[in-house]
């Protein structure tokens, strides 16, 4: 029964840490827009926490380049399980228009496993919220919950 309560709470309280991995800040602004009263993701229990140790979901924007890929890996490693990763924006999904550049790794999934991809340039707040919901559905399925 305790297990049940914890599972239900995991869906209802996904804490988010956001990392800009070389983005132009377009997607970052859209992520932060989700926190404003206009979109208000706190009604889903989502809080933007400051460090990965408190977070369940990692929101990554940007292409990931050779300078910051180890940072991304470290942040991912410092998140306690269970955790999810959402790659936001065209850059996060595949490197976007910068894929051919010399320093670019080309997408978050080249460094860490990604659960949900949210395309867009920039991704709209509604799409980002959709992405988080999709991640939660994935978690639900993984936990074997039907409701």
């Amino acid at each position: 029964m305790f297990e049940n309560m914890i599972n239900k709470s995991r869906i209802k309280s996904p804490w988010v840490v956001h990392f800009d991995c070389g983005s132009c800040n377009g997607c970052d602004i859209e992520v932060l827009a989700c926190l404003t009263p206009m979109y208000d993701i706190e009604r889903f229990g989502i809080i933007n926490v400051g460090n990965p140790k408190h977070a369940d979901v990692l929101l990554v924007t940007g292409t990931v380049n050779n300078r910051n890929k180890h940072v991304l890996k470290n942040i991912y490693d410092q998140m306690p399980t269970p955790r999810a990763v959402i790659a936001i924006g065209a850059c996060g999904c595949s490197g976007g228009v910068f894929r051919e550049a010399y320093n670019v790794v080309g997408g978050v999934d080249k460094v860490i496993p990604v659960d949900v991809y949210v395309p867009g340039c920039p991704a709209r707040p509604e799409a980002i919220i959709d992405g988080v919901v999709a991640a939660l559905e994935k978690v639900k399925a993984a936990l074997g919950m039907t409701a």
Binding site: I6, S9, S13, D40, G50, K53, T81
Partner: protein, 284 residues
């Protein structure tokens, strides 16, 4: 008699965190409404704590685990003592056990955020501890005793005799609730100050313990506020509701300032108000 006390103690132990969590949930909802948004459901703090219990534990060293549990013990014990009618100053010192171990847990981690958070938490304690002792001294002056049970023997509310001390208690409440402008060490939910100050290196189940301990502390300080209108339950509830709403409003209209300002303003105002109230009591 002993059985009644034991039952009361267990009730306090079990119900206080539930009440604390509900108050925290209502706090977030009202804050959200004041900010023109909807806010999370009222049970959200409980979802947060259960989720945290389900995370894999992660610590920097074993001392963090020890300090988290001792903090919880201190906070819970002080609430139980309050409901058993014990000595106010003793309750305060038992609370200090918890607070000191929270700081020790933060200082036990070599992380710079944690270290600065711990130092600033100490400065916060420096701000609110004299205020609480002075409030209790004032209560003792009026009732003739430091025991909580003596407050309930009064014929009229303490608010009539020591209204200024209630404002002093308000300063201590703001600091303890970790609300602006005194959230120097670690702000309550969602707001970051040097990442998360004292809580930075805690995660998962240990963070859940700290959260529950915080709920105990909230109930404790609200309990102190309630003593100021101990003559009627309705008055008590009204006082608590108005005070907490005032705290939320103050939190939303002020910004966090520096620790120097916090010390000067909290302790300075606190001592000044105490002196004025005590002089007035003497003059009567």
């Amino acid at each position: 008699m002993i059985l009644a006390k034991l039952l009361l103690a267990i009730a306090a132990l079990v119900l206080a965190p539930i009440a604390g969590g509900l108050i925290s949930g209502v706090d977030r909802r009202i804050t959200a409404r004041l900010q023109s948004r909807f806010g999370p459901p009222i049970l959200q703090p409980f979802y947060d704590v259960f989720k945290l219990f389900g995370k894999a534990p992660m610590v920097v060293n074993t001392w963090q685990a020890l300090c988290a549990y001792v903090y919880l013990t201190g906070a819970a014990l002080s609430v139980v003592l309050l409901f058993l009618g014990a000595d106010l100053l003793l309750i305060f010192f038992v609370l200090t056990v918890g607070a000191v171990f929270l700081v020790m847990g933060a200082l036990a981690s070599p992380s710079p955020y944690s270290q600065i958070g711990g130092q600033r938490e100490l400065l916060q304690m420096l701000a609110y501890e004299p205020l609480l002792i002075l409030v209790f001294a004032a209560i003792a002056m009026v009732t003739g005793s430091f025991k909580v049970s003596a407050v309930f023997d009064q014929t009229h509310p303490l608010l009539y005799d020591i209204p200024l001390m209630f404002i002093v208690l308000g300063y201590a409440l703001t600091i303890k609730l970790r609300k602006s402008p005194f959230d120097i060490s670690a702000c309550h939910h969602a707001h970051q100050e040097l990442v998360r100050g004292v809580y930075t290196e805690y995660s998962g189940p240990y963070l859940a313990l700290l959260e529950i301990a915080h709920w105990y502390e909230v109930i404790l300080v609200l309990g102190f506020c309630a003593l100021f209108w101990a003559t009627s339950v309705g008055g008590m509830i009204l006082l608590l509701v108005l005070t907490y709403f005032a705290e939320i409003v103050v939190d939303n209209v002020t910004a966090r300032l520096t620790w120097r300002w916090m010390l000067k303003s909290a302790v300075g105002m606190g001592v000044a108000l105490t002196v004025i109230n005590m002089l007035w009591l003497y003059a009567r």
